[in-house]
């Protein structure tokens, strides 16, 4: 029983660590070649690094049919747009100050983060 309890608490700790504490590596936004794929409930890559002070473009391609994935929101930048199915969509970002800008679908189940450094 003790073993089960330890396993249970370990599982909870693992959930906390995996979903909240762990910071996955960021994909770097290179010369217009980065495309974020929207598929299977995720943005891939979901973490992007861009440099501060210059406008950038982020391209999305949505392969997920679920209607939730259709809307892309970047609340801090007041951007909301729709992603068409199986077509490249370019989102223009203005020059940004350093910081983190979250992007997500309408229901926040698809989540991503733009880190500006």
């Amino acid at each position: 029983m003790l073993l089960i309890n330890i396993a249970g608490f370990a599982l909870i700790a693992l959930i906390v660590w995996w979903f909240w504490l762990y910071k996955p590596k960021e994909a770097e936004l290179g010369e217009n070649d980065l495309v974020i794929t929207v598929e299977n409930g995720t943005y891939s890559p979901s973490r992007i690094k861009v440099s501060t002070g210059e406008p950038v473009e982020i391209k999305f391609i949505r392969k997920d049919q679920s209607p939730c994935s259709e809307t892309l929101l970047i609340p801090d930048l007041q951007i909301s747009d729709t992603l068409p199915l199986n077509k490249l969509k370019t989102i223009q970002l203005p020059a940004l100050a350093a910081g983190e800008y979250a992007f997500h679908c309408q229901m926040q189940m698809y989540r991503g983060l733009i880190t500006v450094k």
Binding site: M1, I4, N5, G8, F9, L11, I12, I15, V16, W18, F19, W20, Y22, P24, E31, N32, D33, E39, N40, G41, T42, Y43, S44, S46, E57, K59, I61, Q65, S66, P67, C68, T71, L73, P75, L77, Q78, I79, S80, D81, T82, P84, L85, N86, K87, L88, K89, T90, I91, Q92, L93, P94, Q106, M107, Q108, M109, Y110, R111
Partner: protein
């Protein structure tokens, strides 16, 4: 390459969107026509450009075309943006000559995109329904068997073999009907995120795995816990697929309004180029093209009539039911319908710049934006799934440690049920779905709401300031009285006054000039014209010194007014604006001008007051006139003699009193006041709307639009609150219930199948409730 074509080739569009969004602009003073550059901007898509060195070649080929001011290629996107007035066909030829293929990057064809989306949705719906039937056709009979016989235990070898077969069949269901949940869960797990798929995959996966353990190693679990949950697994998958399918259908209905707007766009236009009439796709119409529209046809792009006259039905854009007469010089808007005559017009706004395209864009953007009320739900849904997973583990542990036998079975059931019942979707959908329908509904009534925040604030407006001229009144004053002094002749006085005012664009001046023209009076010549700010004007005509303005001006010049002061007061009491006219420093006449109140202003104001809104009138006119107009319009409070720059102060004054202030003006000279108000309403006349200039734009001149806007906002907010409340309560009550908190007291534990059904229909309920808003009707008109 082709996949890039439709979407990527329009950086201008997005940049525009972003900037607008960013500045959240309140450029109320901006002329709606400023978007029209003298140089057109065209976008080409290049094919066959394989290397970066092609860029220079293509750019210089384009720059060589007469009329092109600049051409810049985006190599990554294989698009060129061309600035200048060159014909599209010449541009295409130039690129072909350079050795590449090019085509016009059509402004995104909304119609096609919509049709494509509907096709994709339909296919997705069919797939979901198929998956539903596969899952339910296994789950249903199993459930029936379990209910009838009560035999879902695994004790004998025969039972083990039978259940093994069922287990494998259930795996088939998981594979065919539930694969997308598992793939989604896994992918997001790898991505360190969790979503609804995670919960469903974990819940059904746990149930299935546990059942298989029971089948393979019955001895590993206590006797009483040797249940299998294959029927629950299959039914849950089936129900959730069904819920998704129905939600998809219901979602389709939430975007009806935007579909209707997109449907207004014409597909082709008949333009006259080189004396030939050509039918071309609407995307190819260029600025300054001459377009012919015959009776019954749609106006393809925005423009200015250059020949013919007609009546145009603009109701689809403005909600104004009466057709509007149009003649040379009048503007026409894309999407409206030409009723009677054949006209020629010059295209002044095409593609993404037409009023209709901007309206569609604005409505879309607003539909996707969130009012502040949805923020809490956003914060919660960001942490929701991992929290539910933790609750599931904790609940299983609690059952194992403290629960009655068979504790393992209880632990598994409670964990599974917690995972299944939790529905982040309902929470996430609560706000956006209602906003989508509410904003669309408003657009149908000719009310354009900029964003979710404006929508929410509009529902809380407690005081509404109405600008008098052009908002309550028609804004087109007319001369009503000319009271001459002494031996002056009315015609002569009017001639002098009209001559004096002929250079002024002040609405009162224009009324006097019009009145003189109506009487066939010919004007003289003005010299030494001098405007005295806030007071009046002075000039010389026929060698006489003329002074025209208010009482203060006359007093300053020590002009004897006699009993004309009383006469002026009487005129003012009749809601007229009296102005003194002096010739050579002697009073010659009072000319009174009145601006009639719009027909439905009184009823609309009553509607606002009926809804408990304090209505306040604001005007630059004198107190007496203001009082008379206010009385006529049924308004108790008013600010008179307010200089344009003081308008925003009045808004602040009301705000200091604790009011949530709406300010309504024509959007041009009320800019600062509109910006400072909690919600700024720009009142449009016809389709010439100041779309980007206010929080809410009323497309038709009627004040009923205000009451409609507030009513729609209130209804939408109420709907959002219902949704949020429902979704919160559902999760807050459902999750603990599923975990078994009621078991110690009432002996109640939720069946995972019921949890699955609840979960599947909770988000459907939210969407359906949002759809109820479609039935919303603004009150009487």
């Amino acid at each position: 390459m082709s996949s890039v074509n439709t979407e990527s080739g329009k950086p201008g569009c997005h940049k525009d969107t972003d900037n607008n969004a960013q500045h959240h602009n309140h450029e109320h003073g901006s002329d709606p026509h400023v978007h029209v550059d003298s140089a057109a901007h065209q976008e080409l898509i290049i094919e066959g450009a394989g290397c970066a060195s092609c860029v220079g070649k293509i750019e210089s080929a384009l720059k060589a075309v007469p009329g092109v001011e600049n051409a810049e290629m985006n190599f990554a996107q294989r698009t060129v943006s061309v600035i200048g007035n060159a014909a599209a066909s010449d541009l295409l030829k130039a690129v072909e000559k350079a050795g590449y293929n090019a085509k016009l990057a059509a402004a995104e064809n909304e119609d096609d995109a919509l049709a494509e989306k509907e096709k994709a949705d339909q296919a997705y719906y069919k797939r979901l329904m198929k998956e539903t039937w596969i899952a339910l056709s296994l789950g249903g009979p199993l459930m029936a068997y379990a209910l009838i016989t009560g035999e879902v235990n695994v004790n004998t070898t025969t039972e083990r073999i039978a259940w093994l077969v069922v287990g494998i069949l259930t795996f088939g269901v998981l594979y065919f009907s539930g694969k997308h949940f598992f793939v989604g869960a896994w992918k997001s797990f790898l991505n360190h995120s969790a979503n609804m798929d995670t919960l469903i995959a974990l819940g059904t996966g746990t149930a299935w795995l546990y059942s298989m353990v029971v089948v393979f190693f019955p001895d590993a679990v206590p006797d009483q816990a040797r249940h299998v949950y294959f029927e629950a697994t299959a039914i849950i998958i089936g129900l959730i697929d069904l819920g998704l399918a129905l939600e998809l259908k219901a979602r389709g209905r939430t975007s009806e309004a935007i579909k209707r707007l997109i449907g207004l766009q014409a597909k082709t236009a008949r333009v006259i180029r080189d004396d030939k009439e050509l039918d071309i796709a609407i995307e190819q119409v260029l600025l300054n093209d001459v377009v012919r529209v015959r009776p019954g046809e749609k106006i393809p792009v925005d423009g200015e009539v250059i020949e013919g006259h007609t009546a145009i039905d603009e109701s689809m854009l403005t909600g104004e039911p009466m057709p509007v007469e149009k003649a040379t010089g009048d503007t026409v808007a894309a999407g409206t319908i030409n009723k009677s005559g054949s006209i020629l017009f010059k295209a002044t706004r095409v593609g993404k710049d037409t009023a209709l395209a901007q309206i569609i864009n604005m409505v879309k953007r607003a539909q996707n934006s969130k009012p502040p009320i949805g923020r809490l739900a956003d914060v919660i849904s960001a942490y929701f799934v991992p929290v539910v997973m933790i609750i599931a583990v904790a609940s299983a542990l609690t059952w194992l440690n403290f629960g009655p036998e068979p504790a393992v079975a209880f632990a598994i059931v409670s964990a599974t049920t917690v995972l299944i019942i939790a529905c982040p979707c309902a929470l996430g959908l609560a706000t956006p779905m209602s906003v989508m329908v509410g904003v669309g509904k408003a657009a149908e009534a000719g009310v354009l709401i900029r964003n979710g925040e404006a929508l929410q604030t509009a529902s809380k407006i407690s005081a509404m300031i109405l600008d008098k001229t052009g908002t309550i009144t028609l804004g087109a004053p007319k001369v009503t009285d000319v009271l001459v002094a002494g031996e002056h002749d009315e015609q002569a006085v009017l001639r002098l006054a009209a001559t004096l005012e002929s250079g002024s664009e002040h609405p009162l001046a224009m009324a006097i000039v019009e009145s003189a023209q109506e009487r066939g009076i010919e004007m003289g010549k003005v010299s030494n014209f001098n405007a005295i700010a806030g007071h009046g004007v002075q000039a010389e005509v026929d060698g006489k010194t003329l002074l025209f303005g208010n009482e203060k001006l006359m007093r300053e010049r020590t002009i004897e007014l006699g009993d004309f002061v009383e006469k002026a007061q009487m005129l003012a009491a009749e809601a007229k604006t009296p102005m003194y006219f002096a010739v050579d420093n002697k009073l010659a006449a009072i000319i009174a001008v009145a601006d009639p109140i719009k027909e439905d202003s009184i009823a609309a104001i009553k509607r606002l007051q009926h809804n408990g809104i304090r209505v306040v009138m604001l005007t630059g006119d004198n107190r007496a006139t203001a009082k008379a107009v206010a009385e006529k319009a049924g308004i108790k409070e008013f600010f008179a003699e307010v200089l344009p720059e003081e308008k925003s102060k009045k808004v602040q004054e009301l705000q200091m009193e604790g009011e949530v202030v709406g300010m309504t003006g024509d959007g041009i000279n009320d800019a600062p006041a509109l910006a400072i108000a909690n919600v700024g309403f720009a009142i449009g006349t016809g389709t010439d709307v100041a779309i980007e200039s206010a929080d809410i734009t009323l497309m038709r001149g009627s004040l009923h639009g205000l009451a409609d806007a507030i009513a729609v906002s209130k209804a939408t907010l109420r709907n959002i609150k219902q949704n949020l409340f429902g979704a919160f309560i559902y999760n807050v009550a459902g999750v603990p219930f599923a975990a078994g908190v009621l078991y110690p007291f009432l002996g109640l534990l939720l069946n995972p199948v019921i949890a699955g059904a609840a979960m599947a229909f909770s988000s459907l309920t939210v969407v359906t409730n949002a759809n109820r808003l479609r039935l919303f009707k603004a009150q009487e008109h």
